[in-house]
Structures are given as C-alpha cells and as structure tokens.
Amino acid sequence: MTHTAYVIAAYLVAALGIAGLAAWILLDQRTQKRALEELEARGIRRRSESRRAGESPR
C-alpha cells in the first residue's frame, strides 16, 4: 500500500463517517418534525400552548 493510499483511506473513512452522522441527524429531524405536524393537525396541543391560547388544558 502506497502512502497516497493511506491518505485516501483516511479521508474516505472520515467522509463516510461524517456523512452518515449528518444523514442520521437530518433523518431524525425530519421524522420528529413530521410526527409533530401530524399531532398538531389532529388538534393536539401541548399544555403550555393550550394555556397561551386561553383554553383549559385538555
């Protein structure tokens, strides 16, 4: 293995690791945001939001 191959291997491993981590975080964000929007669409509000809106908490 030449020294260049070691450099390429190190950059590939780092790029794959960081891309995987970023993809996982972005996917998690999207999943949670969708779930939140779905619940809000069903009319479910958090207690603090219900209080702000002047409703009695359900």
């Binding site: 950059y11 780092a14 960081i18 996982w24 949670q32 779930a35």
Partner: protein, 259 residues
Amino acid sequence: MTEIAKLTERLTALANPTRFLALAGSMLPWLTGAAVLLLAAGLILAFAAPEDYQQGITVRIMYIHVPLAWLSMFCYTMMAASALGTLVWRHPLADVSLKAAAPIGAVFTALALATGSIWGKPMWGTWWVWDARLTSVFVLFLMYLGIIALTRALDDPGRSARSAAILTLVGFVNIPIIKFSVDWWNTLHQPASVFRLDGPTIHPSLLWPLLVCALGFTLLFLSLHIMAMRAEIWRRRVAAMRRMSARVAEVRPAKGHVS
C-alpha cells in the same frame, strides 16, 4: 436593572426551548454554510501546503485527524458543562444538549482513532499500540457509548438526565489525562505541537491550513449539535403530546360510560 440582572434575564430567555428553536432556525443556514466554506478552504489549503520532510504525503491525514481529536475532547467538555447545567441550575436545555452531543462525540472520537490508526501504520509501522494517549482516547470513546446507552435506556428523559449528568462529570477526569498523557508517560504518540506554552512547533505553512480546517470542523460540529438538539426537543414534544392524547382518549370513554 443592573447589568448582571439583564444578562441573567437574557440567558433565562434563551433557556426557553421555543426561543432556542427560533434562534436555531435562523442560525443554522449561516452556521452550516460557513462550516462548508471553511472546510472546503481548509482542505484546499491543506493539499496546497508542502509535504512534511519526514512524514511525506501522510501529513495530509493530520488536517482531519487533529481537528477530530480536538473536537472529541471539546464535545466532552461541553457535555460536562451541560451536566453542570442539569445538576446545578436544572436548565431545561442542558440535558437536551448532553444527550444530543453524545453520538456526535462518539463518531468524532471513532474517526480520530481510525484516521490516527491509518496514519500510524505507514509512520509507526503499526495500526495500534496501547500507549497512554491512544488508550485514554479509546476510554473516551467507551465513555461516549456508555452515556449514549444511559440517555436512551429510560423512556422518561427526566429520569435519565440526572444519572447521565453524574456519569458525564465523573468521566470528565479523562480529559486532562488525554491532554497530558503525552507529557506524563512515555508514549509513541508525539507530544503537543500546537497548544504549547512556548508556542506551536509546526511550520506556519502547515499550521494555517490546520487551523482553518479545525475552525471548519468546529462549525460543522456546532451545526450538527444544534440540529440534533432541535430533533431532541421535537422528540420530547411529540412524546408529551402523545401522552396527552392517550390521556384524553382514556378520559372520554370513561365519561361516556358514566352518562
């Protein structure tokens, strides 16, 4: 109102998750954009910089290995500060910050170990050696895994927050050990060459690209951390709303049965 009172009020305002979400939304595009630009500039500078007279081309690995290693310690230090926030001030975002940072720290530490190992084979003639620096960083990786497991072991984040904060603070003893391991013990890993009392020992032609890369990686880490915190806040809201929805569903049939 005194200046201190004003500052406390401003910090308290930031502790509100809704305000944090609004701030994160406006900050993230700029932070991520700056991270990508700085990383691109840093890597261009790194590949334009001269090769090392001893290491040859393998010195290029330093531009990713060193920032990843620094950030693995920076991340843990930040988590220890968050742990204090949970235990002392019961800051609402402190546990969110700790939990969100742990997987990022684990990946950065694993990558620092992997890139260091890939550099070690051609330079030291071995992938791994159990010297004080490598072993203490490996222990840091295991600490991250332990904290990840603990923060995800219980359904109620409020119950795991305290134990995760205590474990993080106990594990913080490893950070000065990592930093000074190369001075306290005879290690195969070289001693510090940037953060030294007598100044850096790296030639400026190699040092500047390294510092730009380090800044780029730091902004990337902060972007990922803010995104992970945002996802965690949303996850807790979803869980709270699902609980509330289940409670409403339980109460309604009960009322219907009475009438």
